[in-house]
């Protein structure tokens, strides 16, 4: 690189009426012969320029390349091994000072510096991220520094986060209730929001696209068909809704279970908590299924493609009708039209039925939840009574 000398002097403004004097035509004073000491990088650069006949700019470029090559050579060694894209993340103060006892509430991905990957992080990446954090936050490293006794708090958080994320089952449980996505879950557009929008078509894809992308991670079947675009063919759209109406989710809610009171030896107590947790899980699962169904329903109701497909079908029917009238070949066409009509009707009926089922299911879920609640209350009362 060119060596630029920074000067602190600030030349004053030019005097009024200053015109640049013409070049004197003189050359610089005659050069003198000198004998260089063949030493140092600068001499090497000097010789290289002379031998390879390079100008200064060309030489700059060469040195830069050379440096890159050397850096790559060194990098291939010990210092910079491939971290699989784990990278570095900022550590805000509240993250570092959180209480390791409240580990259920902590964002394990943020603790390991993986908030940009989350559920996408591979086990290898988690391992690397954990190692990185441990190297940085190990209590031994802080031995010389000033700090309070809670200094290894964050290290405990790291260990807990790794414990959760390195176990596939526990990780799935955490991913199910990842606090990062909780905010988004409530942020689903409603039917009126879409219809009242100035550009409903565009808004539909903009708002529902990310929703389905987010929900797709819970599917046991992968890959998941995503919302797609406005000019998707009928088959694709139907396949999409078909998939989402039969969504098979791995989401579960064990992570939110209430801890069984370790201190108490009471079997009943334990059983009671376990039972309660179980019912709570089931309720949550049901709620989640209903929630997803609701999203799909809303999407279906306002999907501009459905409207378009219907319109197209109608047009096709009418076109046939008309062509039949002209050609006298009406019977066939009429039959066909009728058949199509019947099919459409059937489909509509089917859809209605499906919706009905969904509604019923939701109702049932509600009833079950109510039942469960009732039961729980009853049991609680019974337990109270038993203790009393």
């Amino acid at each position: 690189m060119a060596n630029i000398v920074e000067l602190s002097v600030v030349p004053p403004p030019l005097p009024q009426g200053w015109t640049p004097p013409a070049a004197s035509g003189k050359s610089i004073s005659p050069l003198v012969e000198r004998k260089l000491l063949p030493a140092g990088q600068a001499y090497l650069a000097h010789v290289r320029r002379a031998v390879h006949k390079l100008t200064f700019e060309e030489h700059d470029k060469h040195t830069e390349e050379e440096q890159k090559r050397l850096a790559a050579l060194n990098g291939a060694g010990s210092s910079a091994e491939d971290d699989l894209g784990v990278g570095e993340e900022e550590e805000p103060e509240e993250l570092l000072t959180q209480d390791p006892k409240e580990w259920k509430k902590q964002d394990h991905y943020a603790v390991l510096g993986l908030s940009h990957l989350r559920y996408k992080a591979t086990p290898e990446q988690i391992k690397i991220a954990h190692r990185k954090k441990v190297l940085k936050h190990h209590p031994d490293k802080k031995a010389g520094q000033v700090g309070d006794s809670n200094d290894d708090g964050f290290f405990k958080c790291i260990q807990k986060a790794f414990e959760v994320l390195s176990n596939p089952e526990r990780r799935r449980q955490f991913d199910s209730v990842d606090p990062f996505y909780e905010l988004f879950e409530t942020d689903v557009p409603t039917q009126s929001q879409v219809t009242k929008h100035r550009n409903p078509e565009k808004y539909f894809f903009e708002s529902f696209g990310p929703v389905f992308e987010r929900e797709a991670r819970f599917s046991k079947k992968q890959p998941v068909p995503l919302l797609g675009a406005i000019d998707d063919p009928k088959e694709k759209v139907e396949a999409f809704y078909d998939f989402w109406y039969n969504f098979d989710s791995w989401r579960s809610f064990e992570y939110l279970d209430k801890e069984v009171n370790e201190g108490s030896d009471n079997r009943d107590d334990k059983r009671y908590t376990e039972k309660k947790n179980k019912s709570e899980r089931a309720r949550r699962k049901k709620e989640d299924t209903a929630r997803l169904r609701g999203i799909v329903d809303t999407a279906l109701a306002v999907d501009p493609r459905i409207k378009r497909i219907r319109q197209e079908e109608k047009e096709a029917r009418e076109a046939k009708k008309r062509s039949k009238g002209v050609n006298g070949n009406s019977l066939d066409a009429k039959q066909q039209a009728e058949e199509e009509k019947r099919k459409a009707e059937e489909e509509a009926k089917k859809k209605e039925e499906e919706e009905k089922i969904a509604r019923a299911e939701a109702k049932k879920a509600k009833a079950a939840a109510a039942n469960a609640a009732k039961k729980a209350r009853r049991q609680a009362r019974a337990a109270d009574g038993g203790e009393a």
Binding site: P15, S27, R34, L37, Q41, H52, N74
Partner: protein, 629 residues
Amino acid sequence: MSQPNGSAEAPIEVSAIPTVVGINFGNSYASIAVLTKEGTAECIANEDGERQIACAIAFQGEELYIGNQAKHQLVKNSQNTITGFRNLLGKKFSEIPANALSVSAPVIQHPEIADEPAYKVKVLQASPSPLPTTASNTPAASKTATPRSEPVQVDRVLTVSEVTTIFLKSLIKSAEDFLGKKVQGAVITVPGWFEQAQKDALEKAANDADITVLQLLEEAGAAAVTTTSGPVPEGLSADRTQLVVDLGASALSLYLLSIRQGLAFSLATLSDHSIGGDAIDDKLIKHFAKEFTKKTKVPLTVCPASDPQDKRAEAKLRLALEHTKRTISASPGAATCSVESLKDGFDFTGTITRLRFDMEVRPIYDSVYKKVGELVSAAGLDLYDVDEIVYVGGSASLPGLDEALSQGFPENIVTPFTQGTVVGGGVGDPTTILARGCALQAKILAQLGEGTEEEREVKASFTHGHQYTQSKATSKTIGLLFPEEGAENALGGQWIPVLLRETPVPARRIVAFNVDLGEGEEKKVGFEVWEAKEGVKIEKVKLPKLEGEEEEEEEEEEEEEVKEKTVEKETLLTSLSFAAQHATKKGGRWTTRLEVTAIVGEDGALEVSAVEVGASGRGEKNVVTVPAA
């Protein structure tokens, strides 16, 4: 999750650092430097824990001593101890002055090779061990082995080259023990005054010791490498004039170097074999001998000593002084010198304060100062033209020397002492500076490729006296003058020197600075390019008339002792002016940032270009050229 113990993979060791060493091979002391993991150079200690390894080898009986242990042999076994051999390398016996060193083994004419200096030492040669009994032999009468017969005393004649080989081998051995790897190559220092024959002899001796010599580097070059690698010290620019003061044990060498962005050449050199650490020792020995006589009433005449008793006492004192000198260099307090049984069984312990020390050694300091003056004026410069002093050698670590020298220099002169880099392994540590420079140079050389013809040529250019070391340099400073209304100085504006005199060509300098454009909306940038005359003395131009004039001026200047750097404009070369496009307004005034590049080609053609650098990007390039003569 958990792995069984021992299943972790061993770290892959890919090191870009070559295993090369730098050796400073002085006449009295040597030092070794290796490259650290970070790529910097570090002086290492040998197995005796000594960073300053005495250039001495001694034979005693069957034993061979090398280094500081050998030096101690000078007391009792001086006839079998060899010192000061480096300076004799490559010399013929007839060239060596007859009154050379007498403290160690005398230099004699080699009995077989004509006109070859050699050393004759007495060694005990182990006699051959008895023949082992074999099956066919008659069995030995007893189980106990036949004792070896007594070793016989023989005379061993060693040439200077052989001695050097033995010594260098031990240095490389120390480095290999430290590194744990085989040394691939070494750069060895040679003094500036070494002739080609001496260099050849050194290279041969090194090759005999199985050392791949990457380069024989002049001491000035090694010092320049150390001082130019790494960041530019505070208060200095990359273009500077450096004075290297090498005060070794046996000689004083002075180099005046012009350093232009790391590219160094010497403006003048001077060496004097009468000034050195040994002379300092002589003064101190006399001082302590006097003190000893005063304390114990035992007469002791030293420097020169004639009585063998006195001689031995002198050798003892000399060894003890080494420690005293180091203490004086390292701490501001007093230093002690103690010798057990100095003479007639009397012990001696004396202390010396730094003040007293400097008083005793003052004549040496003064002669160094005088030599520096001679050197600088030989280069046609003034002491005020020197920007930096670099000290080399053990004796140059004495703070008193720096104090004595810096009187004549401007107040802002940069020395290792003002920078505080002398102690604690700093950059300016005079005892290790050369070895470290050699190691850095070795690193550069070891990384050179040898694939193509051109790469080989680049490598060859590091050999002594190669054509690429011949270069042309500018003789006058070229700079920019920004005219100013009502300027106070004689130049009539703001002067920005860009290409200093004594800059080897082709050269390029880029300077970046802010320009004040005033309040008006005109926003015009303009400057003139001048060749300037700096100070009162300018580089010796090969014109006899001018030289005469200048010398007269010099004398006047020195008599008046008015020292101030002056700049006079001499020749207008060209000018450049354009309207600023990227100016920004700050506090009602327009300013812009300018990047001016000046390139002098090999033929002396000058190209000045100015580019505006704004927040929005780089402006147009405005170029003017001045053709070569």
